[in-house]
């Protein structure tokens, strides 16, 4: 299928409404980045999402868009509550995969001699890799509490501080979680994985604030040039995967696929007003809350590791959570539709919420600045901190990109890395890396990703979020 792309301006492209599309598509991208999309099926996935019932305005793609399953990764779509749907494939398997950034009082110049030791200490203390088990083993009763309470459960257990909660999207817990809808398999898989990083593109990164673009906002975010920061990327682990898989299978079994007229089976859905749709949202909220508890515990492990490895006091380290954002979710949010505040179900599949200054949902600490938007890049270049901007409310249902976005498949990356030592190449650039997986470093090498700086530039110029600071990696652990 040939997909027509019309340039709206230098950062936006229109896919006109055709065939079964209920709304047009909009792709945030520039002339350079759009070239990558012409060779895979990501634009077709934008079109497919546009055919789903109850979708409003446009099927959107953020500038880190790449080929996923069902929705494109970087896809955003909002649905009316009465006629609309929720799609487990539109949220993804790793429900509330997301990241959190912590600031410290340490200057990177002070810790530079110890980076290798610190990365080894993180690697020892933070469970990572396939099927790794965490330091926290849950009873079924406690797992249900995690599913209901999210990050606050972890804080009550001594992992972090109460003030971390207002620095977490949705205060670290989505409403509507109901553990009674979970399968035995999901419950079983959640018991031993709390406080684990996972595998694939999940990581913990030690960083330095390399450049500040907006001093006023950086000051309010407690960011300064030369500062040490820590970024964690992880999600709901096997618990979230099982919940997604359970509901995909249930919806597939119970739906007449012909009646749904699905362009892709992964887009199977339930009506938002149906019992199945409501149960999925309750189960999804359990996984989202589990993920927030997970990242809260990972942050605590990072804190303890730094204090011990550097032999410093908590006051000297002064680690503070800047913000925790979620990447894979469906949430009921108020958005302006035809001049009216309307409750919509916004799916973000590999996208970050981006709320502007003054938004009523924001905590007081970020009311003037807008929400911190965290954009991790690949392990060899940069990550960015942005602040949510008004353009996101007008153009993208309050959303921004979530990372650099892959440009190479994993198999191509492994082929390209043949005979090379990615570990050594990164070390030559001053970045210490340790990974558990046999293929992880090759699959995740910097060339496998788009240029994060260009992706962020599209977001900044489109007014979805404004650049605040750029972070450079010093060391990374991966699963």
């Amino acid at each position: 299928m040939e997909i027509e792309l019309k340039e709206i301006d230098k950062n936006r492209w229109l896919i006109p409404k055709k065939g079964n599309m209920r709304v047009p598509g909009i792709v945030f991208s520039n002339h350079q980045l759009i070239k990558d999309l012409l060779h895979d099926q990501s634009l077709l996935q934008v079109v497919n999402v546009a055919t789903l019932p109850g979708i409003v305005k446009q099927s959107l793609a953020m500038p880190d868009i790449h080929w996923g399953y069902g929705f494109p990764i970087g896809g955003v779509a909002a649905f009316q509550m009465k006629e609309g749907i929720v799609s487990p494939g539109g949220v993804g398997y790793d429900i509330n995969c997301g990241c959190r950034l912590m600031t410290t009082s340490l200057k990177a110049s002070e810790i530079r001699p110890y980076v290798k030791d610190l990365i080894s200490a993180f690697f020892r203390n933070i469970p990572a890799g396939v099927g790794s088990e965490g330091a926290v083993h849950l009873s079924k009763q406690d797992e249900a509490k995690v599913a209901l309470e999210g990050a606050s459960w972890a804080v009550k257990k001594g992992f972090g501080q109460p003030e971390d909660l207002e620095r977490t999207e949705d205060y670290g817990a989505l409403d509507g979680a109901d553990p009674s809808v979970l399968s035995d398999r999901a419950i079983k898989r959640g018991l031993d994985q709390l406080g684990t990083l996972g595998s694939g593109n999940h990581f913990l990164e030690l960083q330095v604030v390399d450049h500040v673009y907006d001093n006023w906002t950086a000051d309010r975010f407690n960011l300064f040039e030369g500062q040490t920061t820590i970024l964690i990327h992880s999600g709901s682990r096997g618990f979230g995967h099982q919940i997604c898989d359970d509901f995909l299978k249930e919806m597939t079994a119970e739906s007449s696929l012909t009646d749904l007229q699905l362009p892709d089976r992964q887009l199977v859905y339930a009506s938002l007003t149906s019992d199945r749709g409501r149960r999925y949202l309750s189960a999804m909220a359990c996984a989202a809350n589990y993920a927030w508890a997970n990242r809260q515990i990972l942050m605590h492990l990072a804190h303890e590791t730094l204090i011990t490895a550097l032999s410093i006091s908590p006051n000297e380290l002064n680690m503070k959570l800047l913000y925790d954002v979620c990447h894979n979710i469906a949430k009921k949010e108020l958005h302006n539709l035809d001049g009216q505040d309307t409750l919509l179900c916004v799916h973000r599949k590999g996208a970050t919420r981006s709320l502007p200054p003054g938004h009523p949902v924001l905590p007081q600490i970020y009311k003037d600045t807008g929400q911190p938007v965290l954009i991790p890049g690949d392990m060899g270049t940069y990550s960015y901190v942005l602040a949510g901007a008004q353009g996101a409310m007008e153009l993208s249902f309050g959303s921004s990109c979530h990372g650099a976005g892959r440009s190479l498949s994993r198999s191509k990356a492994v082929k390209m890395a043949k005979g090379r030592s990615i570990h050594r190449e990164l070390e030559d650039k001053g970045i210490i890396v340790q990974a558990r997986g046999k293929l992880t470093l090759k699959e995740e090498m910097p060339e496998a990703y788009k240029d994060v700086s260009q992706v962020v530039e599209v977001v900044h110029e489109s007014g979805l979020a404004k650049k605040v600071a750029r972070l450079r990696p010093l060391g990374v652990i991966k699963g």
């Binding site: 990501s42 996923g68 399953y69 396939v130 099927g131 299978k249 079994a253 089976r265 190479l408 046999k438």
Partner: protein, 142 residues
């Protein structure tokens, strides 16, 4: 229960991993698909002790059945810590599958992990027959 390395082709997918698997019959295809999944995930050095388990799956059609079959093998590892070391499909129809699986408790000494496959997606999943050659296309979430 055969132990041969299955025939499959890796399909390019930007974020994840796709495979095309063939078989001379439908049963051969499903057995190969199971072995392909295991070959992508593990190198099994030694099978010290194997327990037999029987599974029964139903699906809407062959593509759904393929998804559920592979998901079951994946769950045995992810949820039960069991590595499937042998596959025998006892019966297969377009809507149901019965199989006997040899399983061993996961042990990193004997089961080297090659890559983490987290889920079997429905994205572009297909099971087709062309002139007696059965082909399946499956994309895994990594």
């Amino acid at each position: 229960m055969t132990k041969t390395i299955p025939q499959y082709t890796i399909l390019d997918h930007t974020a994840d991993l796709g495979v095309s698997i063939t078989g001379s019959s439908l049963i051969d295809l499903f057995e190969n698909a199971g072995r392909t999944l295991l070959h992508l995930m593990f190198r099994i050095r030694l099978v010290k002790k194997a327990d037999l388990i029987r599974i029964s799956i139903s699906g809407n059609d062959l593509a759904d059945l393929m998804n559920k079959w592979l998901s079951e093998i994946l769950y045995l590892y992810a949820g039960e810590n069991l590595v499937v070391t042998g596959i025998n499909i006892d019966s297969l129809s377009p809507s149901s599958l019965k199989a006997t699986l040899k399983t061993s408790p996961f042990n990193p000494k004997f089961h080297e992990i090659i890559r983490d496959i987290k889920a079997v997606t429905y994205h572009q999943i297909a099971v087709t027959d062309e002139n007696g050659i059965w082909t399946a296309r499956v994309i895994f979430d990594l």
